[in-house]
């Protein structure tokens, strides 16, 4: 599989994603944000970090980087696109995904392990994992409080576009298991065509044997199986 990981000025999870993809045997390239060629990938990853210092709003300035036009056209042709954390913020700012990531309700930067529940198998990012599976995937953000108007939320629910929701170890979804105030405990959503996933948790930080949890591997495996 060919994977392109985009580096923006201020990205800081690009190498984590790059190394995980390499370690899984994929041809992986880091693509600088000023490039205009994505190198013909099967999957594009917009990594976490603080693109452009999060100036104005998280992800707001990254959307004007030259490579983003290529990312949009790749995704509109059906290419698989995964936005993690700041990558998710960029996807909402580009209009590829609905909603906005507001400041956490606690106003704090939250960095911890977090359980998320797979809400649907109907996506290339989860089809081999199975609905209801609880994953331990770390979060690290200050602006991850997913918000949208009630009409859009209903569309996300009705179209089965909510891919991950924050939960506790048992998979219960409630106020206590919501780390940042996200509407409906939303941790990750996809587009109606289901080829674009934005998620706040970091699967690339839990996908190698050198870190305490490896549940992020499930997501990389699912993508590999979907592209087989």
């Amino acid at each position: 599989m060919r994977i392109s990981v985009v580096t923006f000025p201020g990205s800081n999870c690009d190498y984590d994603a790059y190394r995980v993809c390499l370690s899984r045997g994929h041809q992986t390239k880091l693509i600088w944000h000023k490039d205009t060629d994505l190198a013909n990938p099967d999957l594009v990853i917009l990594p976490g970090g603080f693109s452009y210092g999060d100036y104005l709003r998280g992800g707001a300035l990254a959307r004007f980087s030259p490579i983003v036009n290529e990312v949009i056209s790749f995704a509109k042709k059906g290419g698989l696109l995964l936005g993690i954390c700041n990558g998710f913020q960029i996807l909402t700012e580009c209009g590829l995904l609905p909603g906005t990531l507001l400041m956490n309700e606690s106003l704090l930067f939250i960095c911890k392990h977090q359980y998320i529940r797979v809400e649907t198998e109907a996506s290339p990012f989860t089809q081999s994992i199975g609905k209801g599976k609880v994953l331990d995937v770390p979060i690290a953000h200050k602006e991850g409080n997913f918000y949208t108007d009630s009409e859009t939320l209903k569309q996300l629910q009705d179209n089965n576009q909510i891919i991950f929701r924050y939960c506790d170890k048992q998979g219960e979804i409630n106020l206590q298991s919501n780390p940042n105030g996200s509407l409906d405990n939303i941790a990750g959503i996809c587009n109606p065509q289901r080829n674009i996933l934005g998620m706040m948790p970091h699967p690339e930080r839990s996908a190698t044997d050198t870190v305490p949890t490896q549940d992020g591997k499930w997501i990389f495996e699912a993508i590999e199986k979907a592209l087989e």
Binding site: R57, G99, T100, N104, L107
Partner: protein, 88 residues
């Protein structure tokens, strides 16, 4: 030359946890009559043009395409002469 004074505010329907924290601090300071605080962004932008209509159109476009997120924010602005503002 002209100056645009731009305010980008959270929509009334969007919770503002920063504003809430400031209200709590003000209550602790003794200002118990403060009902609500909302935190906004104020942006100043100077233009070489003297054409108000042109600058207005540009500011509208800039607000819609970059400064404000239409999902959560609203904007308003005024355009004033740059010289007058410098004197002040």
């Amino acid at each position: 030359m002209l100056k645009a004074k731009i305010y980008v505010k959270l929509k009334a329907s969007v919770l503002d946890p920063q504003g809430k924290a400031v209200t709590n601090s003000l209550h602790n300071l003794g200002f118990t009559d403060v009902l609500e605080t909302r935190i906004s962004k104020y942006i100043e932008m100077n233009f070489t043009s003297d054409d108000r209509e042109k600058v207005s159109q540009e500011v509208e476009y800039i607000c819609n395409s970059l400064l404000a997120n239409p999902n959560t924010e609203v904007y308003q602005y005024e355009i004033v002469p740059l010289e007058q503002n410098l004197e002040n």
